[in-house]
Structures are given as C-alpha cells and as structure tokens.
Amino acid sequence: MSETAEKDLFSKFDEIIAVRENLLASGVEDPFSLVMERVLSPTRAVCNGRDTILLGTYNYMGMTFDPDVIQAGKDALDNFGAGTTGSRVLNGTYQGHRAVEDALKEFYAMDHAMVFSTGYQANLGIISTIAGKGDYIVLDIDSHASIWDGCKMGDAEVVPFKHNDIEAMEKRLKRIPEGAGKLVVLEGVYSMLGDIAPLAEMVKVAKDNGAMVLVDEAHSMGFIGEHGRGVCEAAGVIDQCDFIIGTFSKSVGTVGGFCVSNHPKFEIMRLVCRPYVFTASLPPSVVATAATSIRKLMHGSNKRAHLWENSKRLHGGLTALGFKLGTAEPQSAIVAVIMPDLERGAAMWEALLHEGLYVNLARPPATPANMTLLRCSLCAEHSEEEVETILGMFERAGKAVGII
C-alpha cells in the first residue's frame, strides 16, 4: 500500500515565523504578547510588571472607567445575566440591544441603526451583503482589514484606488460599465497614519457618479464634527453618506460594531446579513455600557476640546524633538511616529516600555508602504503633565536607540 506524504499546511507561515524568531533573538521583549496585569484607569496599567502610561489604546474619550458606564454594566449583569446565548434574530435581542440602537439613532440623527458583535463584523457584514455579483466596490487602497475582508467575502468586482487620491477614484468610477451598482468605501480617519480623508470632495465625486457611499468613522466618533459624528459631519457631507460604520471599542469604551443609515429598506439587513444572523449577540452588560457611554458622548464637548489639545501638544512636541510623523499637522487623535525599520522600531518600542509607556508597534502588512510605525493614540483623560512626561520618555528612548 502506498502512502502519500502529508503536506504541512503551516509551511506557508515559515517566512513570518523566521522574521519573528530573528526579532526575538535580538533580545527584544515580544511586542505582540504584552500582558496588562492590572488596569488602573483609561490611561494607566501595570504591563509586564511595570506601571505604564497607556498611549496606544484608542480609548479616545476615556469612557472605560466612567462610573455611570460601569454601573449600567453591573445592573445589566444582575438583571439580564452574563450573556444572551443567541442570535439577534432568535433569542438574542434584549431590551438593551434595542436601547443601544436607539441611542445610536439619536447620536447620528439617522433613521436606522444595526448593532453587530464587533466593528470587524459590521464592515464584513454590510459590505459583503450590499455589494453583490455584478456590482462594483471602489475603495481606498489603505482600507482597514475588515473592509478588505468584506470585499473578499462578497461577489462584487473590487477596484482599489491610491490612498486619498480623488482623481484616481473618479477615473475608476467613470470606467465602471453603465447600469452596474456602485459602492464607494471610505474611512474618515485612517488609523495607521492618523490622516483624514478629503470627504467633502470624495463624497461629491461618488454621488456625481451615481455611487452609494459607505464611510467607516471608527476613529472619529465622539470628537470629530460638531456632534462627534465624524469626519463626514465635519466635512458637511454626512447627509450624503448612505452608510456609516462605527465601533464601540474605541471612543465608546467597550466592544461591538454598528451601521447607521437613512436607507428606507435598511431593516431588511437584519435578515440577509450573515455576520449579523449567524453569531451570538453582545452580552447585556456590553450593550448597557455602550448605550450609557454613547449618551454621555453626546455631551462631551469639554473632553473633546482637551483631547484635541493633547493631540496638538504631542504632535508639536514630537516634531520639535526631530521625530518623523505620519502627518505634517495633527488631523486626529492618532499620532504615528515613523521608524526607520522593524528592528529599530522594536528597539524603540521596548525602550519606551522600559520608560513606562505603551504605544502600538505597527508593521507590514498592516501598514502602508511597508512602514514600521509607533502608533500613539491619545485619550481625553491624559493630563497636560502626562503628555509632557510622554515627550520626555520619547526623547530619552529616541536618543538611546539612535533615532533622534
């Protein structure tokens, strides 16, 4: 009897295993297995045994430890239990799921809101469901993984264009065969470099060419735009955005994702969108904390102003120290520090951790143009003094590693 040799399906990961082993062989602390032993506040934790300032959490508005938010979660645990054990369309819609959707409709002043179990699933579900066979999706090449995966899961033709390039987007829209359905997918803030999209121009071009528009505002909710509705609100085009995707895992301070829309037929999505139907709904405590947080964010203008001050202070300070940043001006609450290569990026990340500062190390393929980035995201709860402390940490670490 002859035997066929088994092919190891893991051989495709050999290259990434080698890169990782090389990095760890240099003695650097593993940037991708940090453990937070205790979390003290939105801006402080004990990480790998050290008291650490958190500057890479996307916890923009610091809602994770808000007393009202925590109380709402505790009450929901007491009254509704630990989980729903069911899909939204079966036994998984509790009063709290409706309440958080109502809060979203009010926050965005839109007719419909649909909550998913994560932000990833919101993009995955909405994009793959609304753009079908024969339709075209035109999207920015630097789109988030959840957008790309939504494209891949659906049957539409996928047409990327160069990052934030209005003309490249317009050319591709004009080449789409007549009569085909068109969906333009954009993000308000691009999370890698912290830059924003020229939505006023892009949404107009999309509409002029007969496309529906979906904007992911995950990194702007709560602090960009007059009501914190995002870059599309600040650009004055929110009324022309057909779908806004967002998340509870950033400014809202818990986990979950959503889509809001004024489309008259939007509610049918609850029956046809597989990542909504075929998974358990969020636990009652999560939707209760989210609803409370969203309602408090409607009145967060003071915190919002302080967050912008923090972003400007950090951006200005790092620029003055000689670091190369992702944007010339602060455009969001993300400040990306560009590293010369992965080795020095990891060394800088470790030096900062030893100083008592946590930032995100981002590397290819998640980053544009194969860059290695130290991504800093500010919180409205960072004090002015903390930002100054952070700048001192960057200065010492940058000199020790030889980047500045």
Binding site: K162, R175, A369
Partner: protein, 80 residues
Amino acid sequence: MDRAAVDTTIRSIIEPFNKKGVAITDVTTFAADLEFDSLTVMDFVAAIEDEFDIIISMNQQAEIERFGQLVDAVAAQAKG
C-alpha cells in the same frame, strides 16, 4: 487595439517596474519571475488602467499570473 499593439504598450509600461531586466515572454510570472510585491502590483495595475482607460478589478488580478494572461485580459477590454 490588437493584441500585438497591447503587448508592445504593456512592455513599455512594465520597463520601470522590471528592476532586474528580466527577459519577458508570455509565460513570465509577475510574482516569481518579476518579483512584484503587492505595492508594485498596485502601481503597475494603476498605470495599465490609466493607459488603456479600463478597470482590472482585484477579482481579475487574482486570475492573472503571467504576462501573456495580462495582455489577453487587456486586449479583450481594449477592443473599442
């Protein structure tokens, strides 16, 4: 535009991307022979789309591995 003309035009577009000066035939592969990474593919595809005023969607790109397949795909769209 006939296939030969498309072939000639694509050869001129590919030149700046062909860093190692690989001799190109219909069976030359973009990934293995020309060593195109994802960023190069994006720029190269955009250059071809703009030259011929066509769309080569990601779905089509996934089916195109060799130079000859690209010429066929472009020639099919650039008939007009």
